[in-house]
């Protein structure tokens, strides 16, 4: 039995390979990145390349050390196979005269093409710079991209009923008896131009990649506003009045798919505002035709206009239509 033990030990030794490797993949053979299957049994594991049609095997590379027929630039193989297709010197001259596309994109094959697509962005707006009244509300951007980076579009905001007078106003009025003229908005609409100068991609947590772009936008339109009567609320009732309104903004789009993006932008709406008058006319009440009556609407607002900047942060989703597109050039 002792003999049998030695035999088993010898067998075990023989079964142990001379080297045990948790080996990295062999580098792919050939220059195209494809890996030729190794035919031998157990010869390094099987490589299945789904990019190649089944059954097509990479052709063996010609031996670079062997002299190539007609390698001297006189046409090469095509001239031997089909002399009529052999390029002539005149053809090469004509080809050299052809215009070529000088533009080479810095980031090849952009994840999302915008060219001739419609972008619809419903969003919710938040006030950034009005500590007295917040003008939050829904809005919509609709853009048509004339080129891949330039769009023309419409923008609208709906504020009516959503203006929020801050408690800070009340505290200030009660403590100091100084009222700040307040304004509420009803709606705004504008014709805009959008330019996308910046785009790129991010790696998230080192495990996935997403694309984004930054855009600048600007336009002109109208905004409908009115003062909130705080100085003389008993006599003053204001109607909404549209004013010309310019807007400038920058935004960031993070693409979830090729047709859906999460969008955040900051936009400044600039318009001339008529503020409530801080003084009350001391004429008779109830006589609107009297220029000194507190009932005369002309006494309700201050002289001149205040140029107002309403900075608004918009967060929404962008939908690109049509959903799919084709690249002009291959990868």
């Amino acid at each position: 039995m002792k003999q049998a033990q030695w035999l088993l030990f010898a067998a075990a030794l023989a079964l142990v390979p001379s080297t045990a490797l948790a080996q990295k993949k062999k580098p792919p053979t050939g220059g195209g990145g494809t890996t030729a299957p190794t035919g031998g049994a157990g010869g390094g594991g099987q490589t299945i390349d789904l990019d190649n049609p089944q059954g097509t095997q990479p052709q063996p590379q010609p031996d670079q050390t062997q002299p190539q027929p007609n390698a001297g630039g006189t046409g090469g193989g095509i001239c031997e196979i089909d002399p009529s297709a052999c390029p002539k010197q005149a053809d090469i001259g004509e080809a050299a005269k052809k215009e070529y596309k000088k533009e080479i994109y810095a980031v090849e094959q952009i994840y999302v093409l915008r060219y001739h697509r419609v972008e619809l962005t419903p969003y919710w707006g938040f006030t950034l710079n009005d500590q007295f009244v917040s003008h939050g509300g829904p809005g919509l951007n609709a853009n048509f991209y004339i080129t891949n980076v330039f769009a023309i579009g419409l923008n609208g905001n709906f504020y009516s009923g959503l203006n929020s007078d801050s408690d800070f106003n009340f505290q200030t009025r009660r403590a100091t008896r100084v009222a700040v003229p307040l304004t509420e908005y009803s709606w705004s609409a504008a014709l805009n131009f959008t330019y996308v100068p910046v785009y790129g991609k991010f790696a998230g947590f080192g495990s996935f990649i997403f694309s984004y772009d930054l855009y600048a936008t600007g336009g002109v339109g109208a905004i409908s506003t009115r003062p909130i009567p705080v100085i003389d609320p008993d006599n003053r009732k204001f109607d909404f009045d549209p004013k010309v309104c310019f807007n400038l903004g920058v935004g960031l789009r993070i693409f979830v798919t090729r047709w859906l993006a999460i969008t955040g932008e900051i936009r400044d709406y600039i318009y001339p505002e008529k503020l409530e008058s801080l003084t009350i006319a001391n004429g008779p009440i109830g006589q609107p035709s009297d220029p000194n009556s507190p009932s005369n609407p002309k006494t309700w607002v201050q002289d001149g206009v205040d140029i107002t900047n309403n900075f608004q942060a918009n967060v929404g989703l962008s939908f690109f239509l049509p959903f799919s597109f084709e690249y002009r050039l291959p990868k």
Binding site: G42, F168, P197, F202
Partner: protein, 308 residues
């Protein structure tokens, strides 16, 4: 032998001998000299490759010193400007612990100037608006206060100001990539979030109206006293690396806490304490979601690494 036979049947002994005699030569002949534990490639040549190869690791094992200028948003009575910076040490390329701190400078908002100029100083607001004692011949109190030199205290003297801040914070850098500007200029860009806590020093109107304290009508009660608040902080930012050492950063920071910005007696009595009680104290502090936008220039100390 008999002993062995007793424990192992003869048939088994024969079987073992046969197996060894047969397997050993077969194994020696048939075995390879290497054992392969190879991954099967299912698709193209990039299958199994990491998302980013040879990633420039700007942060791992490096110290960042970033002087910063910042300003507050949605200011009520005072604009605040921050001059300071942050120091971060990055344990990994995506996680750091550091300090943020500096000093604030303040200036009146237009509202504060308006209150100083037009607030009537009378019995109704004498505990809430500094009386504006004219000590300069050119200054007249009248119905309001010019707020000019020698005319103190004014309303702006009673409004709270941020003084300094010091925070400890963890920073995570989950997103990184590069930015192509006009399809020509490339900048490595990272997005980060941070979370921490610390202290904010501020000057707030001193307590008044209670036992042992000055009356809230007293000129002395409109002075400011130093306070320290324990405050959480969090925010997001972007870093643009100009090269291996220098970066430019933009960040948004929240510093939410309660304080009495106007120095008013506005709470402490009645339903939900919503009415003035003739005292200025902690009851008059109201919550504010203080927001700060900062711009920084960072310097990374240490050698930059590159991933595999």
């Amino acid at each position: 032998m008999s002993k062995i036979t007793a424990s192992l049947p003869v048939s088994a002994t024969l079987l073992a001998t046969t197996l060894v005699a047969g397997v050993v030569p077969a194994t020696i002949i048939g075995s390879e000299t290497q054992a392969h534990a190879q991954e099967i490639v299912l698709t193209g040549p990039l299958k199994g490759a990491p998302p980013v190869i040879r990633l420039r690791q700007y942060r791992e094992g490096r110290l960042e010193i970033a002087p910063q200028f910042a300003f507050t948003l949605l200011d009520e009575y005072q604009h605040s400007y921050f001059i300071g910076g942050r120091i971060n040490y990055y344990f990994t390329d995506w996680l750091a612990f550091g300090l943020w701190g500096g000093a604030f400078l303040n200036s009146n908002t237009d509202l504060t100037s308006q209150i100083d100029n037009i607030a009537p100083r009378d019995l109704l607001d004498q505990s809430n608006v500094a009386p504006c004692v004219p000590t300069d011949a050119k200054t007249t109190a009248g119905a309001g206060c010019t707020g000019g030199p020698g005319s103190h205290p004014t309303f702006s003297d009673q409004t709270a100001t941020l003084s300094w801040a010091a925070m400890g914070q963890f920073t995570a850098v989950p997103f990184r990539g590069k930015l192509a500007l006009f399809q020509a200029l490339f900048v490595d860009t990272e997005a980060y979030i941070f979370l921490g806590a610390g202290v904010v020093g501020l000057n707030e109107r001193v307590s008044c109206g209670d036992t042992g304290q000055p009356s809230c009508n007293d000129v002395a009660s409109f002075a400011l006293g130093s306070q320290v608040k324990f405050v959480p902080t969090f925010g997001i930012g972007l870093t643009f690396f100009l090269n291996d050492i220098v970066n430019i950063g933009v960040e948004y920071r929240a510093l939410p806490f309660s304080w009495n910005r106007g120095g008013f007696d506005s709470r402490g009595l009645g339903p939900n304490n919503n009415f003035p009680d003739g005292k200025v104290n902690g009851d008059d502090e109201t919550f504010k979601f203080n927001q700060v936008i900062g711009i920084s220039v960072g310097v990374m100390l240490g050698k930059r690494k590159t991933s595999q």
